[in-house]
């Protein structure tokens, strides 16, 4: 788990810097949420269980394979193949619309259940996204049909600049589970083992046909919402400093060191491996060819006559260098 967390921090930091250099597009760092995503995925069975991410988790999905970060590098490079996770990789494409993936996860769980297939669906969404109607509609129905879903609400305290006090008057986000008739659990989102434990229990409950669980994982945002954000405008400096002091990656490393399970050599090896993966992923992403008319692909299984005409026009202009 620690190796995957270290890799996540490196991927996220490197992509952030590459955005600043103009080589990759806008991105949302995972910094501070590594323990939630990694702890969750290590409690799952990647060959059966589906992940429905928002846009921040991709860096930390290493448990599902390096292909996730390779595809995500393509996504950040603005390439349409970046959200095409190959068949067999149970991860839904990056979702920009907040909480829109939550009913998708419920639909997937419902479909798995109907077909008698093993597996659960896990939806990641933030404290801000929990104010969207999609969350309420989906959580409500999932409990009604006892769908095998884990609702992973990552509460990092901030929805861009809006604090949780402006998001809800509930004492905790986990309290909202009561209204749906499902268990609500609050967990320290900076502790990967604590997350692993609650997700393991939620998964067991889901596959036993007992229905969904809402988990509120409490974390801190260590910095920017996205590369287009300046958190010093709204997060008090001392709060940012406190969050950085509780940074889950070095904290977990120190914990493992104290029991003799981690050392400088392992740390250096984990960092080198992650840097090699992201170097390769970014190089390949930036070199990946892309046809100028690729956006006509995959709108429909077969393009409409009008789309064929538009595509021919584009290619004609392209040939003349006037597109």
């Amino acid at each position: 788990m620690l190796r995957t967390m270290i890799a996540a921090r490196i991927y996220s930091t490197r992509c952030f810097n590459l955005q600043r250099q103009g080589r990759l597009g806008t991105m949302a760092p995972v910094d501070g949420n590594e323990a939630v995503v990694v702890g969750t995925t290590y409690a799952l069975q990647p060959e059966h269980d589906w992940i429905f991410p928002q846009y921040r988790e991709q860096y930390a999905l290493g448990r599902y394979g390096d292909e996730v970060i390779r595809r995500h590098a393509l996504y950040l490079a603005g390439h349409p193949e970046g959200s095409n996770y190959p068949a067999g990789l149970n991860v839904f494409p990056c979702q920009i619309s907040l909480a829109a993936q939550v009913p998708h996860a419920v639909g997937m769980a419902w479909g798995l259940m109907r077909q008698g297939l093993a597996g659960v669906a896990v939806a990641f969404f933030g404290d801000g996204a929990s104010s969207e109607g999609d969350f309420y509609e989906a959580a409500n129905f999932a409990a009604v049909i006892k769908a095998p879903v884990v609702f992973m609400l990552v509460n990092n305290g901030w929805a861009i600049s809006t604090p949780t006090s402006m998001q809800t008057a509930a004492v905790t986000f986990a309290d909202k589970a009561a209204a749906f008739g499902m268990p609500g659990v609050r967990v320290d989102g900076c502790d990967p083992i604590a997350v692993w434990e609650v997700v393991t229990a939620a998964r067991a409950r889901a596959v036993a046909g007992e229905g969904p669980t809402l988990i509120e994982a409490v974390t801190h945002r260590l910095g920017h919402h996205t590369t287009a954000d300046d958190p010093t405008r709204y997060i008090p400096v001392e709060q940012l400093a406190a969050a950085r002091a509780a940074d889950p990656v070095p904290t977990f490393a120190a914990q493992l060191r104290s029991v003799g399970l981690w050392d400088d050599e392992l740390q250096a090896d984990a960092e080198a491996a992650a840097n090699a993966v992201i170097d390769d992923a970014v190089d390949q992403a930036l070199a990946r060819p892309l046809a100028p008319d690729a956006f006509f692909d995959h709108v429909f299984a077969q393009p409409t006559p009008r789309m064929r005409r538009q595509r021919a026009q584009l290619l004609e202009l392209e040939a003349e260098g006037r597109s």
Binding site: F52, S97, H104, R114, G133, A138, T304
Partner: protein, 328 residues
Amino acid sequence: MTVRTMIEAINLTLAREMARDDRVIVFGEDVGVNGGVFRATDGLIDRFGRDRVVDTPLAEALILGTAVGLAAAGMVPVPEIQFLGFSYQGFHQLAGQIARLRYRSNGRFDAPITIRAPFGGGVRTPELHSEAIEGQLANIPGLKVVMPSGARNAAGLLAAAIRDPDPVLFLEPLRGYRSLRDDLPDDLDLVEPIGRAELVRDGEDVVIVAWSYQVEVARRAAKELAEDGISVAVLDLRSLVPLDIDSLAAVVSRCGRVVVAEEAPQTAGFGGEVVATIVEHCFYDLVAPPERVSGYDVPFPMAQLEDRYVPSVGRVVAGCRRVLEVAP
């Protein structure tokens, strides 16, 4: 052969498709025990069980959003939105999610989702039950918009929609559910390809281009004009996306005069798209400016005034007379 109403044709086609493919799942508000508020899904729960005919909570974003996950799980979702006007409460899942499932996943996921929704005026419904918003929907890339005009093509097009690997909005004119009838084969073995218009009446002087219930209005208008010796063609578009541009251009070029009849408000309605397409493809064959007969640019009115809003036979006849007045 048996005479079937449009609602019977839809009901029997749903049953036929569910029997043919056990991945098909029907869900929505009141579709189960109640059989749908118009009885479109009547009896399906008894035949196919509660696992395949599912009453959902009253939550349109949920109904549309779960269709995405179901499709990705390998099912063939056929959700019902009880009235098309209610789709505003799930519009983000329709436009932002269902329409983009294939595109966003760069081809990994098919989206064989058929969204059925009744719409249209003429039956004195409360607010937001009658809105014709097909133009707004047709502007969303990745959605097919299919609008049957009778029992026969409702059966054939619904079967095609359910078998289509892309999302299809299947919009049913509630005024036609019981008033439109066709003689249909008993086994209802009908599949009509999506994307082809049908010349339901041939004529030479003017063509009325219409879809959904306005095809019936156009037929009646054509009959009335025939009594004055005017030869009127009626083209039923049947699907707005994909649009059968070739059939549209052929009949308009031949007649030279065209009236487009639709229920939606005029500004940015799909009729404007039809006229633009006509101008693009038939400009030199036109002998009169195309005429639009549509709803007005106002919200769908309360019951007492709706007959003045939805294009009537009289308004379509008047539209035809206006284009016929222009000297060649």
